[in-house]
């Protein structure tokens, strides 16, 4: 019980990053419209990263559903989420929790999508097929770093792992992709 309380307190703690602090301080929390505007800005500007990670992890449709679920959770708990130093990382965990019922029913997450019409892979079907052979963390790391140009640290922040782990995921993922695609290293 004490451990749970401590965990929550840590999430409540205001971040030390002054830029994040600025975001927190400048919003009048007594104004509903200001809070909605703040949340909308969060959805528009920062939650895109969450959506990308979830789509790389679970596929477009399942990942999109989890993204919506995580954002709904964020809105319900916005007072707490808005003060977190790493809200995207936290919401990624929320989405993972939301994916449990599907795992429980042994639903297989299909990348890039469970419904083929959701994403068109005609331009490079072999690459998408090869991406499905990677582990979820490898796929997320490779797509975020080499597809979206994130730094290793940014990926590590969201996944909640060390930078070294992300480095390993990227390198092993690329090696596997090269093998699958028959590409020269």
């Amino acid at each position: 019980m004490a451990a749970t309380a401590l965990t929550k307190d840590r999430f409540r703690t205001l971040p030390r990053d002054p830029s994040v602090l600025a975001t927190v301080k400048m919003i009048d929390v007594s104004s509903p419209s200001a809070i909605e505007a703040e949340f909308s800005a969060f959805v528009t500007l920062r939650a895109v990263r969450l959506r990308r990670v979830l789509c790389a992890h679970y596929g477009v449709d399942v990942g999109g559903d989890l993204h919506g679920e995580a954002l709904a959770y964020a809105w319900q708990h916005w007072e707490r989420v808005r003060t977190m130093a790493n809200p995207v990382g936290y919401l990624y965990r929320v989405a993972q929790s939301a994916s449990r019922p599907q795992r429980r029913w042994n639903t297989r997450h299909s990348f890039p999508a469970t419904m083929p019409e959701v994403v068109h892979t005609d331009s490079d079907p072999t690459l998408f097929a090869s991406l499905t052979t990677l582990s979820e963390h490898q796929r997320v790391s490779v797509l975020m770093v080499h597809g979206h140009g994130w730094s290793y640290a940014e990926v590590a922040d969201v996944l909640g792992v060390s930078v070294t782990a992300v480095t390993n995921h990227v390198h092993r993922g690329l090696a596997k992709l090269r093998t699958e695609l028959g590409a020269q290293p």
Partner: protein, 367 residues
């Protein structure tokens, strides 16, 4: 790899577009009810990386490994087997002062991006900082140009090999890749300390007409010597002191470099007063986004400076509703008449430490 990277970028764009379409069909999160319970696996997100428990557990594991290794060595000795007692990867090298030491960089970083090796001369002493995005094999030889005869040390990103043979000066060698990704170039930076040991070397270098910032403390002198690159002649040297900004065009754009030396290592505290129409805010260590409120027709003045050694070209954008209104660079402030009332953002698009990006300090005034 470049081909694979392009394909990955294209795949990421396809996924992005598909997920954006998918999200557009979903209800707004503000009208949706979530049944997700509090995540139970969040402790790893908040747990300090060096908690007491983790240190103790890793120490215990380390002790067990050490004990097992010792046992193997003892057993091997008793059985008369040869034992390699050298410590692989030990960060120390020997070299007589005054001799010429050649350092070879065989960079197998992402193999597609950096392939060539290069040598630097006159590196008998100092600290050698290898700043790349992957492992680098550094081979030290004494007096021989081609055949390495000495140690080989594999350095990871950010590691520093101490090579201190005469105790007179420190040096940092930075290997980086050119903008076109085809060649390796390097700079050799000596920082001679008036008060030896009082400061750490904090250096960064870039190529191709860009700017590097060398953060030092006041009173230090910096000597930058351009080492041989693929297209540049060897051994150009220049002295600068703290505060100098030096442009050194050579006619070859690949060799142009401007070096800014700064003594600004301190960061100011955030002092913006929220809710006021007029004020000055200082955003220290800005590495992502910071929000500020402003009204239409207010005059914004934004100045940016590096906090420490940084890659040039790091910009701070002023954004509203996802639209970038303008940007400021160190040395190039932004003056802007704000078009609307609302919540604006300062945005640093991407911080990639492996490329030399560092947090910035932005000073914002609104009138």
């Amino acid at each position: 790899m470049n081909d694979l990277e392009a394909r990955l970028r294209q795949a990421a764009q396809q996924l992005d577009a598909a997920s954006a379409r998918y999200q557009a069909e979903q209800p707004s999160p503000m009208t949706r009810r979530s049944d997700v319970t509090e995540p139970t696996n969040v402790r790893s997100l908040t747990r300090p990386r060096w908690s007491t428990r983790s240190v103790l557990s890793s120490s215990a594991a380390g002790l067990m490994v050490a004990a097992a290794t010792l046992a193997v060595i003892v057993l091997a000795r008793r059985q008369g087997a040869p034992v390699n007692e050298t410590v692989p990867g030990a960060p120390s090298f020997s070299g007589a002062a005054g001799t010429t030491t050649t350092v070879y960089f065989t960079a197998d970083i992402k193999a597609d991006e950096v392939t060539s090796g290069m040598s630097l001369s006159s590196l008998a002493n100092g600290r050698y900082l290898i700043d790349t995005s992957g492992p680098v094999v550094v081979e030290f030889t004494n007096g021989r140009a081609t055949a390495p005869d000495g140690s080989t040390y594999r350095l990871q990103l950010g590691e520093i090999a101490d090579i201190d043979t005469d105790g007179l000066s420190d040096a940092a060698v930075i290997v980086t890749r050119s903008n076109d990704g085809a060649a390796v170039s390097s700079w050799l930076l000596f920082v001679e300390l008036n008060n030896r040991g009082a400061a750490e070397i904090n250096a960064h270098t870039v190529l191709g007409g860009a700017m590097g910032v060398y953060a030092t403390t006041d009173g230090q002198r910096i000597r930058v010597q351009r080492a041989r690159t693929d297209r540049c002649p060897e051994a150009e040297m220049q002295w600068w002191t703290v505060g100098d900004t030096v442009l050194q065009p050579t006619g070859d754009s690949s060799c142009v470099a401007s070096i800014a030396v700064t003594d600004s290592l301190t960061t100011k505290e955030f002092t913006f007063v929220p809710g006021t129409d007029v004020g000055i805010a200082t955003f220290s260590d800005l590495s992502g986004r910071a929000t500020f409120a402003a009204s239409a027709n207010q005059q914004l003045h934004l100045t940016v400076r590096y906090n420490s050694a940084s890659r040039p070209g790091q910009e701070v954008f002023v954004v509203i509703n996802g639209q970038r209104l303008g940007s400021a660079l160190p040395g190039r402030p932004l003056d802007l008449m704000l078009p609307a009332t609302g919540s604006y953002e300062l945005e640093v698009p991407r911080i990639d430490a492996s490329l030399g990006d560092r947090p910035l300090t932005a000073e914002l005034s609104i009138r």
